[in-house]
Symmetry: C2
Subunit: 233 residues, 2 copies
DNA sequence: ATCATGGCGATTGCATACATTCAAAGCTGG
DNA sequence: CCAGCTTTGAATGTATGCAATCGCCATGAT
């Protein structure tokens, strides 16, 4: 078992990313310590870490507040992420795929293909698709062999509340389109079409970002109320 | 005055970036506390922060070690940075420059122009050029209005030892070329040539990365000795 | 009524004592 | 001499007490 500091950091990160705390919520050290049954020390370590990761904002002598993301921020993040995923695809196309990685991606695409035929659209299917999508992107990142790029993309994907939107995030049509994009990126990579690989991958991410921003704007209307409630509490 | 935690973090960050500790050096909490005349608490906070920033590596129950960068890592970082600076230039070209930012960049370019005529090549000139270069890039980043992009680029530029290489980093020819690149990026932006702006900016950064990697490889030979010494200490 | 001010409560910042863990030196038996 | 166990010490992990700071509210003067 890891140290309390690490485990508290993970728990807190998950909570923030999961949207348990509304943006702007102030995090009280003693409350958190009490809730997680540890002393303030590991809590402080966790808060410090999460602040450095960009999930919290720190103000000396004042404490930590959950960073609030506006629709404009999400757009900015997705512009960057789309560009980086494009770069990633380009790098992989340039240097070629190892047998291992090609096999992994092939498997993902096959499972995705099967998922298309699923008649009932349950939350479970949603989760499976999410997992497949993650595996596709993560395998590509790993195949790029660029650990710094990997870190940047990880940070660009760690946005609070995003996981909460998984329900009704996509319908059959968007899933089909997404799967098709994946196939084309893979095809471009295996045939060494670097420019195509980059364009398609970037556009693929950018499009999904646009969809998310739409949903975000809808939730954003209720945001002020949540922020106010947080301030009152 | 800020809290001890913050000030210690800044001091330590500067030390690591300045190359005061060789890559692989183990950072002892009590020694640091003694050296900086504070208790272990703010030291631990600083170490935690720097680890989250990617400058240190943390292993539970073992402590923090200064991250070691190989030439391959530097190359990976510069590939990402070149891409992001390209994105930055593209964004600015797309949305146009405000009068404020145009003025700032214009001033930087003028001062750079004057610097070309400096006959003696002292370290002071080196520092001035460094400052001008930073201002050019920072202004562009600010003009992009994308705070997430700004954060990513900041991280991509924070590499230990890089500042230490400032002596003999560039000669008159490379400075002239660099200045010319800046001018062309500016011209492309003001005339709305988005693709050119992106290409030139990316290539500009990539080239300077290549130059740095060359120098890095030369220093890398003495690296194993330094690492061994650190391990022994 | 508004603004300044001073104290009060709550929260964070820091130091230190103690617990825990890991690793390397030393010891014992073969 | 070596292998494996034991021990020991030095480092990190955690809890807690106290100090410092900030924001808020009440009080008073202009």
């Amino acid at each position: 078992m890891a140290t309390r500091g690490v485990s508290v950091t993970n728990k807190l990160r998950e909570a923030v990313l999961g949207g348990d705390y509304a943006g702007g919520t102030r995090l009280n050290e003693v409350d958190l310590a009490e809730a997680l049954a540890v002393s303030r020390t590991p809590i402080r370590a966790a808060l410090s870490t999460l602040a450095a990761e960009g999930l919290l904002e720190y103000r000396p002598n004042s404490g930590y507040v959950v960073k609030a993301f506006a629709a404009k921020d999400i757009e900015g993040i997705y512009v960057v992420r789309a560009d980086l995923e494009g770069l990633c695809a380009r790098l992989v196309a340039q240097q070629g795929l190892s047998d291992l990685h090609r096999g992994l991606i092939h498997k993902v695409l096959e499972e995705s293909e099967q998922l298309q035929n699923a008649e009932d659209w349950t939350d479970e299917v949603s989760d499976v698709w999410r997992d497949l999508n993650d595996r596709f992107h993560n395998t590509l990142i790993e195949a790029s062999g660029n650990s710094h790029l990997a870190m940047m993309l990880r940070k660009s994907r760690a946005i609070p509340l995003l996981n909460q939107l998984k329900f009704r995030w996509f319908d059959v049509a968007t899933l089909a389109r997404s799967h098709d994009d994946h196939c084309q990126v893979f095809a471009a990579i295996t045939s060494g079409q670097v420019v195509r690989a980059e364009s398609i991958a970037a556009e693929h991410v950018y499009r999904s970002g646009q969809r998310i921003i739409e949903h975000w704007r809808k939730m954003d209307t209720r945001k002020p109320a949540a922020a106010a409630k947080a301030r009152a509490a």
